[in-house]
């Protein structure tokens, strides 16, 4: 559960309280930095995360977002979707259209942090670029190594990363410990690490923009 003064659990809030707030459904990979921003700006927002590992089964994302959004729309006057397209290839947009909601712009959270043009430049420079965010650096063992089975089958390294030439860490809030973990992640893939300091401005702009947009009423 996320802890934050403004984005904490909604159970203690009265319906009248909630009526003035925004429910933000966030991908688990974005939920923590989103909640930190909500705190920093004292936005009237409650963050409702969904599991980050849905990214590896992106056909499930739209359905889960829709179910949560439908339930939140019964309580919140305004609900927003803290997901980019995220490999749903348009399915999330259909949900947004159906429920009259907005999502973060872009294809994935890397676009949000680095900006689509900059990200594309990394891929153009080296198509074999593998991108990390602070979230992925912290959770690398679970979200990457374990999910891809590299912990159990290290022999699959080349099947996955044989064509990769570097890891680019989009560092939002770098500190020495995170840097060490990013280096460790790159080392475990046998790839050199490039650190790109993106900060959190991209996410801040994206979420701020999302929340101030006029949001249509709850559909009948």
């Amino acid at each position: 559960m996320l802890t934050s003064t403004t984005s904490s659990s909604t159970s203690s809030r009265s319906p009248a309280d909630i009526a003035a707030r925004i429910g933000l459904i966030a991908c688990g990979a974005l939920a923590q930095p989103a909640a930190a921003l909500v705190d920093r700006h004292a936005w009237p927002v409650d963050v409702h995360p969904l599991p980050p590992l849905l990214h590896n089964r992106p056909h499930l994302i739209a359905g889960q977002v829709e179910a949560l959004a439908t339930s939140l729309l019964r309580r919140y006057p305004t609900v927003a979707i803290g997901y980019a397209d995220c490999g749903t290839y348009g399915a999330l947009d259909e949900v947004c259209d159906r429920l009259g909601l907005r999502r973060l712009a872009g294809l994935h959270c890397y676009d949000v942090y680095a900006g689509p043009a900059r990200l594309q430049r990394f891929f153009d420079e080296q198509p074999g670029t593998y991108v990390l965010t602070d979230f992925l650096v912290r959770s690398f063992g679970r979200t990457v190594l374990q999910e891809l089975g590299l912990d159990r089958h290290p022999e699959l390294r080349d099947d996955y990363f044989g064509h990769y030439t570097r890891v680019v860490w989009l560092a939002q809030e770098p500190d020495p410990e995170l840097h060490r973990l990013a280096q460790q992640a790159a080392d475990s893939l046998g790839l050199p690490l490039t650190v790109v300091d993106t900060g959190t401005a991209g996410l801040e702009r994206a979420i701020g923009g999302l929340l101030t947009l006029p949001v249509p009423a709850f559909p009948a």
Binding site: N56, G87, Y89, L107, D124, L148, G149, H153, H163
Partner: protein, 221 residues
């Protein structure tokens, strides 16, 4: 071991990706005088099809698919020369590659294994294949089918670029174009002017055979 036990063992061990056991069983089966085609069509291919079905259902994820694919690829190393020796005709030549700018290739590699198992002569151009490389390979190998694989929204437009390049080179009518990859749909395939699309490896084999039969009946008509 009886031939039935060999086939069952091959099926089961491929399913769990036990490459050494699959290799052993392949050798044992051959030593017993079993036909290479039988090992392939009665055990290995059905097993990999089941792996694909489990992936679709969400029971398997990518690593399980990969280890199963590797186990089958190991057996294919042994069977390939034997299949060639026994005079099994290749049913067609398939040039395959992941498009320029994209390095996802797991799906493509699985498709290749299944195509090869089904009797296609597969020429894999690898990843990040530029349009001119496809043209070169088509000129060199005169394939029946060329397959473009893409996994990113940003690289899917290369299908159209490749097809334009084929047109420019005067090759569009001499080769069947198939496209696929996680983000690709039948509508997208139609929109870029591909001849065929398939959502997974088994479907690709089926569609490739259908397209080939249709093309050949047209040519001989």
């Amino acid at each position: 071991m009886t031939p039935d036990e060999i086939l069952q063992g091959l099926y089961d061990q491929t399913l769990v990706g036990n490459a050494p056991a699959v290799l052993d069983l392949t050798h044992t089966g051959l030593d017993l005088g079993m036909e290479p085609q039988s090992l392939l069509f009665d055990a290995l291919i059905p097993s990999l099809e089941e792996v694909g079905a489990r992936f679709e259902r969400g029971d398997f994820f990518v690593p399980e698919m990969l280890i199963a694919g590797r186990a089958m690829a190991g057996a294919m190393e042994v069977l390939r020369p034997l299949l060639a020796e026994t005079g099994v005709q290749t049913i067609g030549t398939f040039v395959m590659g992941t498009v320029k700018g994209d390095v996802h290739d797991i799906g493509k590699n699985l498709v290749n294994i299944m195509l090869e198992g089904a009797g296609f002569n597969v020429i894999d151009l690898g990843v990040q294949v530029a349009p001119e490389k496809f043209i070169e390979a088509i000129n060199e190998h005169q394939p029946d089918i060329v397959g473009f694989s893409a996994f990113l929204t940003t690289t899917m437009p290369m299908f159209k670029a490749n097809i334009n390049a084929l047109q420019k080179a005067g090759l569009r009518d001499s080769v069947i174009v198939m496209v696929g990859g996680a983000p690709v749909t039948q509508e997208y395939a139609d929109a870029v002017g591909a001849d065929g699309y398939a959502s997974d490896a088994s479907a690709c084999v089926k569609r490739a055979k259908d397209l080939l039969t249709k093309r050949r009946s047209l040519v001989s008509a």
